[in-house]
């Protein structure tokens, strides 16, 4: 405020020594536009990376879920047809045919409800949206898009059925073969 507005003009500087080479004017390290562009980009990158990190954070690395493998007991204890013995504990149907065993995962392929077995009509019916499946697991009515999954099934040396729900197959032609089917001809 108290500065005088009209500065006394300073005398012109003395002429530079002629011999000294004139240094080239230093180029600005970066233009203002470039600097701002870099700054905003860095900020945007930071937010994007934070969002990605936040999304990644929501995927747990370790999950504590029950084992997918279980012993379904001696094969000889099963009668012909659909057994609902393991439904409540393992969500599996063990199905015995004249030639052997397969295991169906009791999860409707529509939206994951557990269907019920209706022996008199020979079909599985889902209580949530009305999908119907045959004993083989094929869809015959309702909105389910694909057959029921069959799980890997093995016969242990002791004669027990071992079911592994983590290995699944639903393709006709593949699902009737090992390891999704156990040959077990007669009750012997």
């Amino acid at each position: 405020m108290s500065e005088p507005t009209d500065k006394p003009s300073t005398p012109p500087p003395a002429a530079a020594p002629v011999a000294a080479p004139k240094p080239a004017p230093k180029p600005a390290p970066m233009s203002r536009g470039d600097f701002l562009w870099m700054g905003w980009s860095a900020l945007a990158a930071f937010f994007a990376a934070s969002a990605a990190a936040g999304a990644r954070f929501m995927f747990p690395n370790v999950i504590y879920e029950p084992s997918q493998k279980f012993n379904a007991g001696p094969a000889k204890s099963y009668d012909m047809g659909v057994s609902t013995k393991w439904l409540n504990e393992q969500r599996m149907w063990i199905i015995r045919t004249p030639t052997g065993f397969y295991a169906l995962w009791a999860r409707c392929t529509h939206l994951g409800c557990t269907p019920n077995w209706w022996g008199d009509q020979n079909r599985f019916k889902c209580p949530c949206h009305g999908s119907n499946y045959t004993m083989a697991g094929d869809v015959i009515a309702g909105p389910a898009p694909r057959p029921l999954w069959r799980a890997k099934i093995d016969l242990s040396p002791l004669g027990d059925l071992i079911v592994d729900k983590s290995v699944l197959e639903d393709m006709p032609g593949k699902r009737e073969l090992k390891p999704f089917f156990v040959d077990y001809a007669s009750a012997a």
């Binding site: 999304a55 929501m58 995927f59 747990p60 999950i63 504590y64 879920e65 439904l87 409540n88 504990e89 393992q90 969500r91 009791a106 392929t109 529509h110 939206l111 994951g112 409800c113 557990t114 269907p115 019920n116 209706w118 009509q121 079909r123 019916k125 889902c126 209580p127 949530c128 949206h129 009305g130 119907n132 015959i140 009515a141 309702g142 909105p143 898009p145 694909r146």
Partner: protein
């Protein structure tokens, strides 16, 4: 004997430093200045203007539903916080804690009932609020953005209900959430069971469903995630959006009611605030009485392996569940809800009709109101069918029929275009045919420039359908019920999807016309697909199993 001078004591109290530090302003004299100061000097009330137009006060105009929704939100916060003191979100404890709230905690059952019923009442109130705002054209310029915020708030209200649904950890909870989250698994590209999900490398343990569940099944992590979303994350977002919503209302002159000549504004205190308090008191009373009379449902403890028969979603999602009977999950569970939300938000930008802003005027807004109410009616009819007419195995039972009568197994279904379908060649033939039909339905109303006589055209169409149905019945292809379905669905789709747009929006500019017609044709396609299933047992119109694409 010294008399007690009330006025003097009052003045001394009000003039004291303590009182003045809390409440500014002197003794209340009920002057206009006092009334104005009561609004602007109060942090809670200052979102109101000092004066409003008298029409903005009328119950018949506002329906009071916005305020009632907010009152319910506050009540939900209060009861929810109380419940949190006794609830632990773990698989082993959650159900037991709910049982304790029911039987061992003083007022626990009452609080839980209040929370549950307030939540359901809030869903109703928010929908009613949306309907009232729509019918009075309250979303139009300059209020387009606030309508969008409102749509988000409606979505979040439903999401809050959905997340809260899991917390009791009973059969109702786990199966509603299993179905709901499996729909996320059917998301195109991002879900392991959705179209193109396989191409994107989605598996059961890396897709969008996995994030929602925090695992591959509804379990411990899911309960905790839903708890955090329900109690903290979503209410925070809702709170922020509510502030925005209210602030915009205030900035946009509080009410869309048009100005009238010689209209004298009235003071917000006491006229509006009084009504707000009355509404809030009514809401609290209503919820209290209801919560004393009616207990919130609680089924047996969650069993992730066995589903109750039938299993139904909470009532406001049963319409969606009903759609899932007719459509693949990615359509009914992802595409249609997405279209509904986006479509609702788009309404203010495609409806440029300058008439009927801030007034209930069906004549001026015939097309917009008809289409909107058609959607609302469809939603609630579907809810009614799902809630009242579905029994064991999700079979159709009229409300008067006993569930102990076992229904015949549903007939087998088939697909039109697909590997085993009649038309086969889904890509070469199916996509062009469906695309052509869709495109023609979209373009036809605008391409016919002369207004058609609706009655004649509809009559002709119905007559043609009746002949078709008659031929079909004569050939024994289907029965009279199917014929009636054909006439009903065909007629409704033709009237709302062709005659009305041809009459009302054929002169709309192309971009707005196309968006509007896209939404209209999609709505009609829902009806036609339902008809195709009910009449001809058609499962998919088009199916490409290799990429899980079913339409």
């Amino acid at each position: 004997m010294p008399t007690l001078d009330i006025e003097k004591i009052k003045k001394e109290v009000v003039d004291s430093q303590l009182w003045r530090s809390v409440f500014r302003g002197g003794v209340w004299k009920d002057t206009p200045r006092d009334r104005a100061a009561h609004i602007v000097g109060n942090v809670w009330l200052h979102l109101h203007p000092v004066k409003v137009r008298p029409r903005a006060l009328k119950w018949s105009y506002t329906w009071g539903m916005g305020g009632i929704s907010f009152a319910l939100y506050l009540l939900l916060t209060l009861t929810g916080v109380a419940l949190m003191f006794y609830y632990r979100p773990t698989v082993g404890l959650a159900y037991r804690d709910i049982k304790d709230l029911e039987f061992a905690v003083t007022l626990g059952r009452f609080l839980r009932n209040s929370h549950r019923w307030s939540a359901q009442a809030m869903v109703v109130a928010v929908i009613a609020h949306m309907v009232s705002v729509f019918l009075r054209g309250g979303y139009k310029k300059p209020r387009e953005f606030n309508w969008g915020v409102g749509v988000l708030l409606l979505t979040l209200t439903l999401f809050l209900s959905f997340t809260g649904y899991l917390l009791p950890w009973d059969q109702l909870a786990i199966w509603a959430v299993t179905v709901g989250t499996n729909m996320a698994g059917a998301t195109p590209f991002l879900g392991n069971e959705g179209p193109f999900g396989g191409l994107m490398g989605m598996h059961i343990n890396n897709d969008v469903r996995f994030t929602l569940l925090g695992g591959t099944m509804v379990g411990e992590n899911t309960l905790l995630r839903f708890y955090v979303m329900h109690c903290v994350a979503v209410p925070l977002v809702v709170g922020i959006l509510l502030i925005l919503h209210f602030w915009r209302i205030r900035k946009d002159s509080f009410s869309a009611a048009p100005y009238q000549a010689n209209e004298e504004k009235v003071e917000v205190w006491p006229h509006l605030i009084k009504r707000e308090y009355i509404a809030a008191a009514g809401v609290v009373l209503f919820i209290m009485v209801w919560s004393i009379l009616q207990n919130a449902p609680l089924e047996s403890i969650a069993n992730p392996n066995v589903t109750p028969n039938p299993s139904k979603a909470p009532w406001y999602f049963v319409g969606l569940q009903e759609l899932l009977v007719y459509f693949d999950p990615w359509i009914a569970g992802v595409l249609l809800p997405g279209l509904i939300i986006v479509g609702l938000m788009a309404i203010p930008y495609i409806d440029t009709n300058p008439k009927g802003i801030g007034v209930y005027d069906w004549k001026e807004r015939a097309f917009a109101n008809t289409m909107f109410m058609l959607g609302i009616v469809m939603w609630f009819v579907l809810i009614y069918i799902g809630q009242a007419c579905r029994g064991p195995n999700y079979a159709f039972y009229p409300p008067w029929e006993s569930w102990y009568i076992l229904k015949a197994a549903p007939p087998s279904t088939w697909s039109v275009f697909g590997p085993a379908g009649v038309g086969a060649l889904p890509i070469l033939l199916g996509i062009p045919v469906i695309g052509g039909l869709f495109g023609a339905s979209m373009l036809l109303p605008k391409l016919i420039q002369k207004e058609l006589n609706g009655k004649v055209v509809l009559g002709g169409f119905l007559a043609a359908l009746a002949v078709l149905a008659g031929v079909g019945m004569a050939l024994g292809k289907f029965g009279p019920v199917s014929g009636a379905f054909m006439l009903f669905f065909g007629g409704v789709a033709f009237y709302f999807g062709f005659i009305l747009p041809q009459r009302h929006i054929r002169s709309l500019d192309w971009p707005r016309y196309l968006v509007t017609m896209g939404l209209v044709v999609c709505t009609m396609a829902i009806l036609l697909k339902m008809c195709a299933r009910l009449t001809f047992n058609i499962k998919y119109v088009l199916t490409i199993p290799a990429i899980s694409l079913n339409i």
